[in-house]
């Protein structure tokens, strides 16, 4: 699956996007794998109180997981996952 990063997650991961080959059945599983890979700086921007932060915007094929099954949203190998840390504007 393809994982795309924005804002400071690009600095933390060192890339704009990457092919993620390690199996992850759900969004939650993927995020935990990414935290394991990129460490505390990544964790700081996606986790809060031991859970995935609900202000983190995660899209699976363009759909916000907060309007799907949240972090239980299932993933397939050909999915594109987009992750924005909490940001805003106007």
């Amino acid at each position: 699956m393809k994982v795309r990063y924005f804002a400071l997650l690009r600095d933390i991961t060192g890339c704009k996007e990457e092919e993620w080959t390690r199996p992850a059945d759900t969004v939650g599983g993927l995020i935990h794998d990414l935290v394991a890979r990129y460490g505390s700086s990544f964790e700081r921007w996606v986790m809060k109180d031991g859970k995935i932060w609900d202000l983190v915007m995660i899209l699976v094929n363009g759909r916000d997981v907060r309007q799907m099954s949240g972090f239980e949203t299932p993933l397939k190998p050909d999915d594109t996952i987009v992750i924005f840390p909490p940001v805003g504007g106007g």
């Binding site: 924005f6 804002a7 202000l55 094929n61 805003g88 106007g90």
Partner: protein, 602 residues
């Protein structure tokens, strides 16, 4: 009195006289200040059918009770007048330090009446007020004017002025203050130009007294801590500015591209906040009392577009970027600088160029008409050049200087103007995000994202995620956001504080600052009252329910690609419920019962 200074400066430009008068405290308590109080003064003193560019229109500059206090981000002021772009009530909000300086000089508001015989500027140093000749400044741009006026008045004075666009009555002209800050929308700069008023220069040495110093300090401190602790208000906006939204809106399929012909832009990342941070950002900047620092101090080193200044914000980057099909961030930032220098609203400018590009590609005018400029989508050089010409109101820029609606109407296609009440729509496609479309259609100043920023819950999930495609929840959501925004705008604080605090915190700050008790409900009711008075003004000005709509493209043409493919705006299904929630009848007219509830005498 506390928080308010209790004094209004009234300037008769026709006679060249001025006077001071007590602030109407009864109005201040119920309409708060800035946007709300300005609307009340307009409602009581100006015929809503007046020609906006005539001497009979008034222009009011107002601070709010929290302006220049310890309140977080208390650096705002408002310009309230009848907007020449829209024919509706205009309330253009700006930051920087001009508003606080006005307050330090001892004034809550300046009411400008009439028209000066020749160009003048107003110089205020506390109680000393002078109307001075501005003949030598006429024709100068914003930085030249600002620097020249500081030289002849006070090097620390704050300046709000117009550039050539306002002088030449462009309907998309802004009023600029502190060099880079804009009271941008609805053509307020043209009102100033029509009055032959080049600038307002202020230096104050006073202070603002609050009713309960300890309580106010504690309320402000708590609010500041909440904003600083919030990931958006405390960190996100400082790091990437508002333009971080480019990629977000593009990913959800709501990034208007090529004059709203699509909702995705292939190279959006090239004009996004991440790219600005990598290539142009010198340092984040904040307004008076700011704890957020969303402003972008930038520099473009590319010789073709070299310059230095502030911006672009998300809306500006979108207007000159994706909406024009331009993916060159240096060109985008250069166009932003030109607008700041010549005094143009970046949102209306970008969207008007996009409209011109569509008209050009449809053959409504040719290269001969444009003076040799190839206005094809994606032409960065043309985009920058036509911005310059519009700011100077020269060549084909004269066409664009009237805004997209009048230009498109002239060439037989008013439907290609992406505007509401003739004011250009900002950077969120209402087909992809339903609530923001309802807000655009009902915002009293014409299309504006900062009248009810439902993007926050609908897209960002702040404070909680709301389904962007749902329509049943949106009338209530939009009303709530519009009402809270009206009070915050009127308080003199920055709307971005809502990335951290809400009505509870504003109730605490307003109560301790003013000595008048405001409950959380009062904060929302004040907003409802202000919004409803604006509506009454518009109805008296001749606007009707028919003006609460969106361009036909957004209602009828489904998005053809991207992650909101197939979507249209369902405004017609949301509007009746919205009117009902507001206490308006089926024609959008506030009912007598609603007016009584709000204490408004029509």
């Amino acid at each position: 009195m506390y928080a308010w200074q209790g004094k209004v400066l009234r300037v008769d430009l026709t006679r060249g006289t001025f006077s001071t008068e007590p602030l109407r405290t009864d109005w201040a308590k119920t309409y708060v200040g800035a946007r709300g109080l300005g609307t009340k003064y307009m409602y009581e003193e100006v015929d809503p059918t007046v020609d906006p560019l005539s001497p009979e229109n008034k222009m009011i500059m107002l601070s709010g009770p929290l302006t220049a206090t310890f309140a977080p981000c208390g650096g705002r002021y408002e310009v309230v007048t009848k907007g020449p772009l829209t024919g509706a009530i205009a309330a253009a909000n700006s930051g920087g330090a001009f508003g606080p300086e006005l307050k330090f000089a001892g004034y809550d508001a300046i009411i400008f009446e009439g028209k000066a015989e020749k160009p003048v500027y107003l110089w205020i140093k506390d109680d000393k007020v002078e109307i001075r000749d501005a003949g030598a400044l006429w024709g100068k741009n914003v930085p030249e004017t600002t620097d020249a006026l500081r030289e002849v008045t006070d090097p620390d004075a704050r300046v709000a002025c117009i550039g050539p666009a306002g002088e030449k009555l462009s309907l998309i002209a802004s009023i600029m203050n502190d060099h880079h800050r804009a009271a941008g929308r609805s053509g307020v700069g043209a009102v100033m130009g029509a009055k032959n008023l080049k600038a307002v220069v202020v230096k104050g040495s006073g202070a603002v007294q609050v009713a309960d110093q300890k309580g106010f300090y504690e309320a402000c401190l708590a609010a500041r801590e909440k904003i600083k602790a919030h990931p958006v208000g405390g960190t996100g906006l400082r790091m990437y500015g508002t333009n971080v939204l480019t990629n977000i809106l593009n990913e959800v399929g709501g990034y208007p591209t090529n004059n709203f012909q699509t909702g995705t832009f292939a190279n959006a990342d090239a004009v996004g906040g991440e790219t600005v941070a990598d290539k142009q950002l010198e340092r984040p900047r904040g307004c008076y009392g700011c704890v957020i620092s969303c402003g972008r101090g930038t520099k473009v080193t590319n010789p073709k577009y070299a310059g230095e200044g502030e911006g672009p914000e998300y809306e500006s980057a979108w207007g000159f970027g994706g909406d024009c099909g331009v993916d060159d961030i240096d060109a985008v930032t250069k166009a932003n600088y030109i607008c700041n220098e010549l005094g143009l609203d970046t949102i209306s400018m970008g969207s008007t160029i996009a409209c011109a590009m569509e008209l050009y590609e449809k053959g409504c005018f040719t290269k001969e008409d444009t003076g040799g400029i190839d206005l094809s989508f994606g032409n960065a050089e043309a985009m920058v050049e036509i911005t310059r010409l519009t700011g100077l109101v020269e060549g084909f820029g004269k066409e664009l200087a009237q805004g997209s609606y009048r230009m498109a109407e002239k060439y037989g296609h008013p439907e290609l103007s992406m505007s509401v009440k003739k004011q250009e729509i900002p950077a969120y496609d209402p087909r992809a995000v339903q609530g923001i479309g309802l807000n655009y259609a009902t915002a009293n100043c014409g299309a504006a994202h900062v009248r009810g920023y439902t993007i926050s819950p609908e897209v960002l999930g702040v404070p909680v995620k709301v389904d962007k495609d749902d329509i049943e929840s949106k009338p209530g959501l939009v009303k709530t956001f519009q009402d809270l925004t009206a009070t915050i705008d009127s308080s003199g604080a920055c709307l971005f504080t809502t990335f951290g605090i809400g009505a509870d915190e504003y109730a605490a700050m307003m109560t301790t600052a003013t000595g008048t008790t405001y409950s959380t409900d009062d904060i929302m009711t004040c907003g409802d009252r202000i919004f409803t008075l604006e509506r009454l003004w518009n109805l008296k000005a001749g606007l009707t329910k028919a003006d609460d709509t969106l361009p036909p493209r957004l209602l009828n043409e489904a998005l053809t690609e991207g992650n909101s493919k197939g979507a249209v705006s369902h405004l017609d299904q949301m509007l009746p419920a919205y009117y009902e929630l507001r206490g308006w009848d089926a024609d959008g007219v506030p009912t007598p019962a609603k007016l009584e509830e709000l204490g408004i005498q029509a």
